[in-house]
Symmetry: C2
Subunit: 657 residues, 2 copies
């Protein structure tokens, strides 16, 4: 091991190392190797480049720092502590990985300031950062350098770059020439199982170059080399990847450079040896004031930059518009949706809800100037592009529509990044069956509590001939299972408009609009001012005293209404409940729930499996739906084949009453 020449930045970096090894040791759990290995790179990045103000952690024009290798969480906790973030005092560091602390095992967005995104599931950070860099470039195109001019820096590990999502992210970033995205790869040649050559022979530098990136390398323990690389990266119009050759666990003399140091505490002896090796003669969790002062200068520089920015904002003509977007102000949207609903109740269109979604988007996008549409190469199928929208291209970011490519996972993570960046409101579409492809990013939207909007069309066997690979059957259940996600499955154009209002006004909950491929009649034929979809479920057809209640969602509401007609002809009174959003219904009070659901026997109807329907149905109630995978055939043939018909509901109803 080369002897450490103690410079100012080495001292600053050693403070990170000390805090990381002490915190992991105290918690008896965590990953010291990565923070110790990347401490020099992170120190140079923050010391010489990062433009942030810990007293204003949400300053819109701050540089973004994304720790994609989230298991190295002590790196960011140590840095934010040293920078003086008010909510990251030394007690938080001591409480690393303990109940109620802000210092969770992996960085959690919302737990503490200065954490731009929740990371830990590998690859999510780099893919989310792509969205942040897209947002920066879009807003820069709208507001110019005076208001928007910042970098997005990422530290990524071998794991991030092995995950498939990294491919989608770097392909998209390279294509869009996101020149202000800079990824520092912790090239330490170690994974949990051992050396990286156990499982990969990838030439990462060639790989990034193939994706159109600017590629550099540096010794990750030599500040001048690190700084030169970052400097060059900032100047290049392409996104940059800097391969930082590092020694994992740098400073721990007997364990560094080995996978032993990856995910386990060093132990008291090795920590003592590391203190000696690093010339760090301070006690556990002790940082000399001189080192706090050195880190504090970064914060002061940032505060100064922010003050200058505030002045520019205050004199900018776009000030009000800029702030409205930052605040995600919905303005006249509710009124516009209400007017549109009124028109629908007159027109009573018979359209697929994916088409109804596009019609609603005409209203949404005309009202909100900061929406960003997109699709994973299914624009003409998802119908996510409204008439006024303009596609973004690598050389023109003045548009508002993104062609994410055949990259559902990359799209979902990028949308999270756009939301997290702030000032833009993204939604993006794919086929619902491929929600599985982006599920880890959907989960992160929900866990972070950010209002990313997913548009999932072709939502059942109703898509027909494409067959079981493309037909969602278990997806409604599996998506409803994700906590804090609103799954909205509208039955017609009216409910679709209401679903869009919910999605565009949501602040802390991601939403998913689930839409049909096939045409559906307007079932809400009379105008109601209230957004009934926001109730989760409501009485669509009320026969007064009821013999039976039919509960349905989306495309099956039409079938339920038909069944109710048939039952009425036989003198049986059937109520029909439309239930576009289970999660919102759960939030209603008990009185409303009983009012809607009644006490008569119930039949649920959804072209999907029953799991999750126990919210409405008891053991003596019935369900008309799917029990397994679909098949390839025209949709009407499939509904008949799987017995999801008005006749089936009628027959169940007669049995129940």
């Amino acid at each position: 091991m080369k002897d450490i020449h103690i410079t100012q930045e080495t001292r600053m970096a050693n403070a990170i190392r000390a805090l990381a090894m002490d915190a992991v040791q105290k918690a008896n759990s965590g990953h010291p190797g990565m923070p110790m290995g990347m401490a020099d790179v992170a120190t140079v990045l923050f010391n010489r480049f990062m433009n942030i103000d810990p007293t204003a952690p949400k300053w819109p024009d701050r540089d973004r720092f994304v720790l994609s290798a989230g298991h190295g969480s002590m790196l960011i906790y140590a840095i934010n502590h040293l920078l003086g973030y008010a909510d990251m005092d030394i007690e938080q560091i001591k409480a690393f990985r303990q109940l109620g602390s802000r210092t969770a095992g992996h960085p959690e967005y919302g737990h503490a300031d200065g954490i731009e995104v929740t990371t830990g599931p590998l690859g999510q950070g780099i893919a989310t950062a792509v969205g942040m860099a897209i947002a920066e470039k879009m807003k820069n195109a709208r507001y110019g350098n005076d208001l928007v001019d910042h970098f997005t820096y990422v530290i990524a590990g071998d794991g991030c770059l092995m995950e498939g999502i990294s491919h989608e992210a770097i392909d998209l970033a390279g294509h869009l020439k996101l020149g202000k995205l800079i990824v520092m790869w912790d090239d330490n040649a170690i994974t949990i199982d051992g050396d990286t050559d156990l499982s990969t022979s990838m030439d990462q530098k060639a790989r990034f170059a193939a994706a159109g990136w600017h590629v550099l390398e540096c010794d990750g323990h030599t500040p001048t080399e690190i700084a030169d690389a970052i400097e060059a990266a900032r100047k290049d119009p392409r996104p940059s990847m800097i391969a930082c050759r590092t020694i994992i666990g740098f400073g721990a003399p007997n364990k560094q450079g080995s996978h032993d140091v990856h995910g386990a505490p060093l132990g008291d002896d090795e920590i003592a040896a590391a203190r000696k090796q690093l010339h760090w003669d301070h006690g556990p969790f002790e940082i000399p004031q001189a080192i706090y002062d050195e880190w504090g200068r970064i914060a002061s520089r940032g505060a100064q930059a922010r003050a200058e920015w505030e002045q520019r904002l205050n004199t900018a003509t776009a000030r009000a518009e800029f702030l409205a977007a930052e605040e995600d102000e919905v303005g006249t949207l509710p009124a516009a949706i209400e007017a549109y609903k009124r028109k629908l109740s007159e027109d009573k269109p018979k359209v697929a809800t994916r088409k109804a979604s596009q019609m609603a988007l005409e209203v949404v996008n005309a009202t909100l100037p900061f929406t960003v549409g997109g699709s994973a190469d299914l624009t003409g199928s998802n119908l996510t592009k409204s008439s006024g929208m303009k596609s973004i291209t690598p050389n023109d970011f003045t548009g508002d529509y993104l062609h994410y490519g055949i990259r559902e996972h990359g799209m979902a993570a990028a949308m999270n990044g756009i939301v997290l960046h702030g000032g833009l409101k993204p939604y993006g579409g794919t086929f619902m069956a491929f929600a599985d492809y982006c599920r880890p990013a959907i989960r992160l939207s929900a866990l972070m509590g950010v209002p990313t909007c997913y548009v999932m069309t072709h939502d059942s066997i109703g898509l027909g001939e494409d067959g079981p690979t493309h037909q969602p059957v278990e997806h409604l259940a599996s998506l409803r299972a994700i906590p804090n996600l609103l799954v909205l499955r509208p039955a017609d154009a009216v409910e679709t408009a209401e679903a869009w209002e919910i999605a565009m006004t949501s602040k802390t909950t991601p939403t998913m609009i689930v839409a049909s491929r096939q045409n559906l009649p307007t079932v809400r034929t009379e105008h109601v001012v209230e957004n009934l979809t926001a109730r989760g479920a409501y009485l669509l057809r009320d026969p007064g005293a009821r013999d039976v209640t039919i509960i349905a969602t989306g495309s099956e509401v039409e079938i339920a209404m038909d069944a109710a007609d048939k039952l009425a002809a036989e003198g049986i009174k059937a109520a029909v409940v439309s239930a576009p959003c289970f999660e919102l219904f759960e939030q209603q009070d008990a009185v409303y729930k009983v009012e809607v659901m009644g006490t008569a026997p119930k039949i649920g109807c959804e072209a999907a499996i029953r799991q999750g329907w126990d919210l409405f149905l008891g053991p003596r109630d019935s369900f008309v739906g799917m029990t397994g995978f679909g098949a390839s055939a025209p949709a009407p043939a499939l509904y008949k084949h799987f017995n999801i018909t008005a006749e089936a509901i009628v027959s169940e109803a007669k049995e129940l009453i």
Copy 2:
């Protein structure tokens, strides 16, 4: 458009084109562009290289053909029809995409012979093919060229190569030097949304080269170029990617080369024009006998090769072993598991079920010679490697353990490929939270009905400090939602052994063994010969007449037993049901179900959300579990924090009775 010089292979290819455009037109749905564009490449591949016998579609040493771009399903249906597969007559082609036909919208494994894997979800084909090529190389290392010596050919589109899973697949394939894997990329520069340059600037050739692949290119409409490329690919020790420059919809004079031809019928006029352009003067679905004869020669060549192979097999010393592996014979496994269970009932170990899983694997892997272990870089955490196992390396395939790298999705798809190849039985592990990363491949295991075995450890908040990103909460529900997947969550070492027996003897159902990070006592303390886990749920503690029934799974069975003890101390009789597999319990008869569940009030307990528990619980029953995401803290603190405790069960029980 260059004039078509009609050679034998052009005629053969035009037969594919004609069938594709006619079938899509008749179905009024489907993708003609890809089969027409790749018809020449596919014809040269089959005519000059493919070694298959349509009369013995499961011949172990056949070449594998994977249509990764599954939307071009008419390509493989047309080829299999022309080759004379008995179950692919012209009526099947005419019934393309109709109910009950073998010619589904996307190729479905098991629907017809000669379909090696279900494709359609993009990228799955290429990633599954990696598993097939791994299996070939492993079996070749065991049995030599006489018995195992075949190629895996893949046709992949732009979509396949944009999906993240393709990165995991090609990185793994390049690393392992899968020289007999040959990918033909349909380089047509068109996606559904338009030209590929809408969303990608990737240099695919450089990208594959960076992953260690041998890269070639050819004009996809010039047979000699195609053949030369395939010939060179077969000789290279690296996996090969051939960039085939093609014109999508080749032969349709007015629409070819445009995204209009990607996913919609050509229309009668354009089909007539194409017939003229291609000099194809036969009616719809008419193929001249001369062309059938030309394709038939491929089949005859394959039949001859197979006969020679059968002779070699019959004289091979490894014949019995080879056939036993092909037949997936479980031999003495049930007896070995029973003996092991007997020992466990004496030892009563207190171990994490992930450790119990490793202990069971000692028995499994000592008994079955054809298992293939693996992990997505979490070998020491998943404990998937048993003592006798040897890691496979790029230059030595005699082992039986795969380091899949940090590639959950690639691992899952590769395991599907190993199963589909035949003769090997793979299982592979990751953290359960990252089941989301490989969900599309898990779904395909279930849809195809192949017994891929997933090992998902760290299965709840019980993993502790890693926090909510790593803690499954909704995963049990979302995985149980997948039809035809057995989710097995054993409570102790005994149930874990039983779960492994179920997994290793399953023939048409994928299995998932869900295991704890934390230690758990043996709850089944008395030996039972029967595999009770195979019942799905069973009475673990039977107090005779019951006041209440507590149903729990996995790590919560210990808590349920503790609660029952506490209740007994207060004179309340609580039965405890261990329910390791909901799906298997559903298959039991009504008498058994009532016997186990009883009629007393019920309390479910699982450190996960309630969704799915309506299988056991009615609206008046109780559930002790999670309602949202977890947190970062030591496991005991979390169980207490989220109130998943014996005390909570006791309190619920008292309320219920």
